[in-house]
C-alpha cells in the first residue's frame, strides 16, 4: 500500500500532507515504526501540525493507521537533538511528549525553521481557544493534554520571543499571510463589534413522559435562588432526553410525542416572555433526544448555517438507546455548537461514558454550505448539555442524603464522577462548568419537589449538566425543583455569549490598510541599488588589449543586497568581449563596490567585428535579488585593425588602418588601390628578412608580451616598430595575423581536395588544383609566405628548422582547418588527417 495515500485518507480534503517520513518512536510502549507527517491546512498553509500515525496490529478497514498524536507546530515546541534522533517537548514541560529516531536532519531543520518563523508572529500561546490551528481540533483526542490546557500554556508563556518583522524573503510567502492574519486579528476591534447574546440552555430528562406541566420556571431560569425571571433572552436552546419511552420494541422514537413536546415548549416559551416572539430555527430528534433552538424573531437573520449531526451510541444490544444530537450554527460571525447527549446509565459505567464522549466528539461532523467539514471542536463556543449520567463514587446512600440535606454540595462534588474524570482522564478537560450550588437533578419521586427515590440502589446524582468551552459568561445555573413530572429535574443555565459581528465595509477597509502596510514594508525593505552609470562608452579599444571601465555600485537600501549579472545566452545578447567582474556579489547597507567592465577583443571577437558593426554594442542585465533589474549599455569605439580583417580588404587600404574613420569593408569597397601583399604582412616579413634566417628559436620562442602589443599597434598605426622589437615576438605576431584573418588563405575544402589529389595522384597535380581553384590574391599571398619560409629551410643547418616542422606550425594559421571544423563551419565528407594537411604544406616548402 502507498503510505502517502494511506495517510492522506486519514486527513480531510481541506488538509495538505506536506511531508511524510517513516520514523521509529517510543510513544506509549515499545519502539515502533510510525508515520511522521507534516500537515497544513489549505486555507492557512502556515498553520502546520505534526501528525504521528502508528500502523495497527490488526489492520482495520479505516486504513490500518492509528493517530497517536497531533501537535501544532508553534513556538511552544522544543525539539531536542539526540545522537540517533530527536525529542519533542512542549514548552519547558520536562517530560518528553515523544521521541523519534531518524537520521533525516533535513526534516528536523524544516520543522525548526518553521518554528522560528512562527515565532515571528505568533502572539497568542497555543490553547484550545486560540485563534490559530482551529482546524486541528478536529483531531482533538490526539492532542496531548498539556498542549490543550489553557492555564498551563498561558502561565508558561511569559517570555515570548516576538520580533514580528517580515524579512524581504517572506513577501509573497506563507509568512506574509501569517503576518496579515495576525495583523487582522490585532485590529479586530476596528471592524468587529461584540453583540452580547443572552442564551438560555436547558436540559431535561423527561423520563419518557409527555408534556403535562407548565415549564415557565425552567425557561425563565427561576428557582429558590434565582427568584426573578430571566428577561427576554435572545436565544433559548432546549435539550430533552427520554422524551418518549424507548424499549426493544420501540427503538425509532415517537413522532406524535415529539410533536407534542415541540408544540408545548414552543407555546410556553412564547408565553414565558410576553412581548417577545420566538421562532424555532433548528430542531432535531434522535429517538428520545430532542434539541430545539429558538431565537427572538428579530434575531433570526443572524443565525445561519444551522447543521445537525446525530451520533448513535449502541449499547448492550439496543441501537440508539443512547446518543447525541450535535447542532451547530453561526451566530453573527461566531460559531456555536450545542451537544445534547444521553450517555450510559449506572454508577459503574463511568469509563463507558468517557468513551461515549470521545465518540461523540469524533463522530459529530457537519458539512457546511461551502462543502467544508467541521467537527464539534472547531467552534468558538461549544455547549455540552444533557443527561451525562455521571454518578457519585464511594458514598453510601445515607451519607449522600445527609450531605444534601445539609446542603454540603461542594463536599459531595468531590465524589462526582464527571469532576473526577475531567481531572484525571482529560474528559471534557478544557470545558468549564458553573458552580453547582443546587440539589442533584436525579432521582426524585415523581410528583415531588425534593424527595429522592433511592429504590433500586439509585443514589442521587448530578446526572444532568451543562458545560461549555469558549469565552461565554455564565449567569445562572440551577435546577427547577417545582417541575415534578419526571424523576429528573430540569437544569437551566443562562449565558452571555459575546458574538462577533463583522462590518463587511470596515473589514474591507482594514484589510486594504493592512495590505498597504505590507506592500509599503515590502517596498521599504526591497534592496535598492545605485549604479554610477547605465550608459558606458569605451573609446580607444584595440585588438588584444584589455581595457577596464569601473562602475560603482552602492547599496542605498537598508538591507543586505545581492546582485548578479543575468546571463541570457538564449537571447543572444551576450557578447564575449565583455567580462563583468565580479559577476555576483553582496553589499551591506551603504556599502560601495566596484564593478569592472573588462573589454577585450581577441581573435574571435575581431573577426565578428568586421561582419557585424553592431557587435561593439552590448546591453547586459544587472539583477538585484528581490528587487529591480538594471540594464547597462556599453558602446565600444574600436580602432580599426588588420587583425581579423581579410587579405582582400587589406590590400585595398594603403593608409594605416587605425586612422580610418569608417568601417574597414566600407572603405575597401570604395578604394581603388590594390596592392599584391597587404602592407602589414609585408612589413612583418621584411622585418624578419632583415634579421637573417639563421637564429635559433624563431617561431618557437614566445616573445615578449609588451613588445608584441606594440608591434600590433605599430602595424595598425603605421608607426615604426620599436627598436628592441625582436624576431621571436615578430614571428609570433605573423602567425597570429594569419590565424586571425577573417578568411584563411587556403579554405579547408580546397585543402581537403588537394590533399586527396596528392594522396591518390601526385603533388604537382595537387598544386595545380590549388592554383586553378584559389583566387589570385590568396594564392599570391600564400606563395609569398611559402617563399619566405623556404629561406629558413635553406638555413636549417643554423636554425634547426625543417620543412616538416614549419608545415606543422603554419598549416592551421593558413587553413583555419581545425578551427572551422570544430566550430562546425566545415564538414568534410572525407576525413583529412592533420598529418595529411601538414604533408601537403611541407611539399610546398620542399619544392
Amino acid at each position: 500500500m502507498n503510505p502517502v495515500k494511506t495517510v492522506q485518507n486519514k486527513l480531510r480534503n481541506s488538509e495538505n500532507l506536506l511531508k511524510l517520513e517513516i520514523v521509529t518512536t517510543q510513544y506509549k510502549g515499545n519502539p515502533k515504526e510510525c508515520f511522521f507527517a507534516l500537515v497544513s491546512n489549505k486555507s492557512c498553509p502556515y498553520e502546520q501540525a505534526i501528525f504521528l500515525f502508528r500502523p495497527r496490529k490488526i489492520f482495520s478497514l479505516s486504513g490500518g493507521l492509528e493517530l497517536l498524536i497531533v501537535l501544532p507546530l508553534t513556538k511552544e515546541i522544543q525539539i531536542i537533538q539526540k545522537s540517533d534522533g530527536f525529542l519533542f517537548r512542549w514548552l519547558t514541560y520536562d517530560t518528553t511528549l515523544w521521541n523519534i529516531t531518524t537520521n533525516n536532519k533535513k526534516l528536523i531543520n524544516t520543522l525548526i525553521k518553521h518554528i522560528e518563523e512562527v515565532s515571528r508572529y505568533q502572539r497568542e500561546p497555543f490553547h484550545a481557544l486560540s485563534n490559530s490551528h482551529k482546524w486541528m481540533w478536529y483531531y482533538e483526542s490526539a492532542i496531548p493534554i498539556q498542549v490543550r490546557s489553557i492555564e498551563y500554556n498561558t502561565e508558561n508563556n511569559s517570555t515570548q520571543k516576538i520580533s514580528n518583522v517580515l524579512l524581504p524573503e517572506h513577501y509573497g510567502k506563507d509568512m506574509m499571510n501569517a503576518y496579515i492574519k495576525d495583523q487582522l486579528k490585532i485590529r479586530e476591534t476596528e471592524y468587529t463589534e461584540i453583540r452580547d447574546i443572552k442564551m438560555i440552555i436547558g436540559t431535561w430528562n423527561t423520563a419518557g413522559k409527555g408534556p403535562s406541566e407548565d415549564l415557565f420556571l425552567w425557561f425563565c431560569c427561576q428557582n429558590d435562588v434565582y427568584l426573578e425571571p430571566e428577561q427576554s433572552p435572545d436565544m433559548i436552546v432546549i435539550c430533552l432526553q427520554e422524551m418518549c419511552e424507548l424499549s426493544p420494541k420501540n427503538i425509532v422514537g415517537d413522532d406524535v410525542r415529539m410533536r407534542n413536546w415541540m408544540s408545548h415548549i414552543c407555546n410556553q416559551i412564547n408565553d414565558s416572555f410576553p412581548g417577545n416572539q420566538y421562532t424555532i430555527v433548528g430542531d432535531e430528534h434522535l429517538m428520545g433526544l430532542l434539541t430545539m433552538i429558538f431565537v427572538k424573531f428579530s434575531m433570526r437573520d443572524y443565525i445561519n448555517e444551522i447543521k445537525t449531526s446525530c451520533v448513535k451510541l449502541g449499547f448492550k444490544g439496543y441501537v440508539g438507546n443512547k446518543g447525541a444530537i450535535c447542532m451547530r450554527f453561526d451566530l453573527f460571525e461566531s460559531s456555536v455548537c450545542i451537544i445534547n447527549c444521553h450517555l450510559a446509565a449506572h454508577k459503574n459505567q463511568a469509563k463507558l461514558r468517557n468513551e461515549q464522549i470521545k465518540t461523540i466528539s469524533k463522530e459529530g461532523k457537519f458539512v457546511l454550505s461551502s462543502k467544508e467539514f467541521r467537527n464539534v471542536y472547531e467552534h468558538d463556543f461549544i455547549f455540552w448539555a444533557g443527561d451525562l449520567n455521571y454518578r457519585l463514587n464511594n458514598l453510601s446512600t445515607d451519607s449522600i442524603i445527609n450531605k444534601i440535606n445539609a446542603k454540603h454540595f461542594s463536599e459531595l462534588l468531590e465524589y462526582d464522577q464527571l469532576n473526577i474524570e475531567k481531572r484525571e482522564n482529560d474528559i471534557l478537560a478544557e470545558f468549564h462548568e458553573g458552580k453547582i450550588d443546587f440539589m442533584p437533578s436525579f432521582k426524585y419521586r415523581i410528583g415531588t419537589t425534593n424527595q429522592f427515590n433511592t429504590s433500586n440502589k439509585r443514589d442521587p446524582a448530578w446526572c444532568d449538566r451543562i458545560l461549555w468551552r469558549g469565552e461565554a459568561f455564565l449567569m445562572r445555573y440551577g435546577i427547577c425543583n417545582y417541575i415534578i413530572q419526571s424523576d429528573h429535574k430540569p437544569v437551566f443555565s443562562s449565558f452571555m455569549v459575546p458574538a462577533k459581528h463583522t462590518d463587511p465595509l470596515l473589514f474591507e477597509q482594514v484589510k486594504s490598510e493592512v495590505y498597504k502596510t505590507v506592500d509599503d514594508m515590502h517596498h521599504e525593505s526591497m534592496p535598492k541599488l545605485k549604479i554610477s552609470e547605465n550608459f558606458v562608452e569605451i573609446t580607444g579599444v584595440r585588438y588584444k588589449t584589455l581595457l577596464t571601465k569601473v562602475l560603482t555600485l552602492e547599496n542605498v537600501g537598508a538591507n543586505i543586497l545581492k546582485f548578479e549579472v543575468k546571463h541570457n545566452r538564449d537571447l543572444g545578447l551576450h557578447k564575449s568581449w565583455l567580462a563583468v567582474e565580479p559577476e555576483e556579489g553582496t553589499l551591506i547597507s551603504r556599502q560601495i563596490k566596484e564593478l569592472k567592465l573588462n573589454v577585450y577583443f581577441g581573435k574571435n571577437q575581431a573577426r565578428k567585428l568586421n561582419k557585424n558593426p553592431e557587435y561593439t554594442n552590448c546591453i547586459f542585465v544587472l539583477g538585484v535579488k528581490g528587487g529591480s533589474d538594471f540594464f547597462i549599455e556599453i558602446q565600444c569605439k574600436i580602432n580599426g585593425s588588420c587583425f581579423g580583417a581579410s587579405i582582400q580588404n587589406l590590400i585595398k587600404i594603403p593608409q594605416p588602418i587605425a586612422s580610418l574613420s569608417e568601417k574597414l569593408s566600407t572603405f575597401a569597397d570604395k578604394s581603388t588601390a590594390a596592392m599584391e601583399i597587404p602592407k602589414e604582412l609585408a612589413r612583418m616579413v621584411d622585418f624578419l628578412k632583415s634579421k637573417g634566417y639563421r637564429e635559433k628559436g624563431i617561431f618557437q620562442e614566445a616573445g615578449d608580451t609588451e613588445i608584441k602589443k606594440d608591434i600590433r599597434w605599430a602595424l595598425d598605426t603605421g608607426d615604426p616598430f620599436r627598436e628592441d622589437a625582436d624576431i621571436f615576438s615578430m614571428s609570433n605576431i605573423l602567425l597570429e595575423f594569419l590565424d586571425c584573418l577573417e578568411q584563411p588563405l587556403l579554405l579547408p575544402d580546397l585543402v581537403s581536395e588537394a590533399c586527396q589529389i596528392f594522396q591518390t595522384n601526385s603533388f604537382p597535380a595537387a598544386r595545380n588544383y590549388l592554383v586553378n581553384n584559389l583566387d589570385q590574391i590568396s594564392m599570391k599571398n600564400f606563395l609569398y609566405i611559402i617563399d619566405f619560409l623556404k629561406n629558413y629551410i635553406d638555413n636549417s643547418l643554423y636554425n634547426g628548422l625543417t620543412a616538416v616542422f614549419l608545415a606543422k606550425l603554419f598549416t592551421e594559421p593558413i587553413t583555419h582547418f581545425m578551427e572551422m571544423e570544430n566550430a562546425g563551419e566545415y564538414n568534410p565528407s572525407v576525413k583529412i588527417l592533420p598529418t595529411q594537411r601538414n604533408q601537403l604544406l611541407s611539399m610546398f616548402l620542399y619544392s
Binding site: 500500500m1 503510505p3 502517502v4 494511506t6 492522506q8 495538505n16 500532507l17 506536506l18 511531508k19 511524510l20 517520513e21 517513516i22 520514523v23 521509529t24 515504526e33 498553509p45 500502523p55 495497527r56 489492520f59 486504513g63 490500518g64 493507521l65 529516531t101 531518524t102 537520521n103 533525516n104 526534516l107 513577501y171 509573497g172 510567502k173 506563507d174 506574509m176 499571510n177 496579515i180 474591507e508 484589510k511 486594504s512 495590505y515 505590507v518 506592500d519 515590502h522 517596498h523 526591497m526 547605465n534 543575468k566 541570457n568 537571447l571 543572444g572 545578447l573 546591453i619 542585465v621 528581490g626 528587487g627 529591480s628 533589474d629 538594471f630 540594464f631 549599455e633
Partner: protein
C-alpha cells in the same frame, strides 16, 4: 511547499512613453508624476490584491520601452503569469507596437499567459487616434482583457489589475486540481542495520 501559490508575476510591455511605469505607480503607490524618467531596466514592485476568494500578490515587472531594450523583454515575460500590453490611445503607432508585442507573445511567450490590453491616457480622449471599438474587438479576438486606463486620473487602473487577479485565480484552481500531491516518503530508519526495512502497512 508551493511558494508561488500567493505570488503572480505580471509584466508590462509596450512602446516607450505609453505610461507603463505610471500605471504601476498609480496602482501600487497611488501616485502620479507627469515627468517621470524613462525606465532603464526592469523595475520591480509588488502589491497585494484582495479578492473575495483570498488574496493574490502581484510581482510587477515594469520593463523599459525603448526599442533597443526590446529583446530583453523576453527575460520578463518568459515566466510571467500575465502580461499587460500598454498603448497610448493618442498614438496609433503605439497601438500597432502593442499588436506586435502580442504577436511576439504568441510566438515566444509562455503557454496560458493571461493577456490584458490597456489603452492608457484616457484623460486625453479628445486626442484619441485609436478608437475604443477597434481595440476592444482586437482584444476580444485574442481573448484578452481590455481596459481603458488613465494613470493620471486613476481611471480603470484598479479594475485592470483586479480582472487579471480574478483570471489568475480561475486558472490557478484548474492547475492545482491537475497536479495534486507529490510527496516522497523517506525512511531514514530503514538505512540503519538491524531495523526491519520498509515495514509498510497493509501490504
Amino acid at each position: 511547499m508551493d511558494d508561488n501559490s500567493a505570488q503572480a508575476k505580471v509584466v508590462l510591455l509596450g512602446e516607450a512613453g505609453v505610461g507603463k511605469s505610471s500605471i504601476v505607480l498609480r496602482f501600487v503607490a497611488d501616485t502620479y508624476h507627469s515627468d517621470i524618467e524613462p525606465t532603464i531596466g526592469a523595475s520591480f514592485l509588488s502589491k497585494i490584491v484582495n479578492l473575495s476568494e483570498g488574496t493574490i500578490k502581484f510581482g510587477i515587472w515594469d520593463t523599459a520601452g525603448q526599442e533597443r531594450y526590446h529583446s530583453l523583454a523576453r527575460m520578463y515575460y518568459a515566466e510571467a503569469v500575465a502580461a499587460i500590453l500598454v498603448y497610448d490611445i493618442t498614438n496609433r503607432k503605439s497601438y500597432e507596437a502593442m499588436k506586435n508585442w502580442h504577436k511576439e507573445l504568441v510566438e515566444q511567450g509562455p503557454k496560458n499567459l493571461i493577456v490584458a490590453i490597456a489603452g492608457n491616457k484616457e484623460d486625453l480622449v479628445e486626442k484619441e487616434q485609436v478608437e475604443m471599438e477597434e481595440a476592444k474587438s482586437f482584444a476580444e479576438s485574442i481573448g484578452a482583457i481590455y481596459k481603458k486606463t488613465s494613470a493620471k486620473t486613476r481611471y480603470g487602473i484598479e479594475q485592470l489589475f483586479k480582472e487579471i487577479a480574478i483570471k489568475i485565480k480561475d486558472n490557478r484552481s484548474i492547475v492545482t486540481r491537475e497536479k495534486r500531491g507529490s510527496i516522497r516518503v523517506t525512511s531514514a530508519v530503514s538505512q540503519q542495520p538491524g531495523v526491519a526495512k520498509e515495514k509498510k502497512c497493509c501490504s
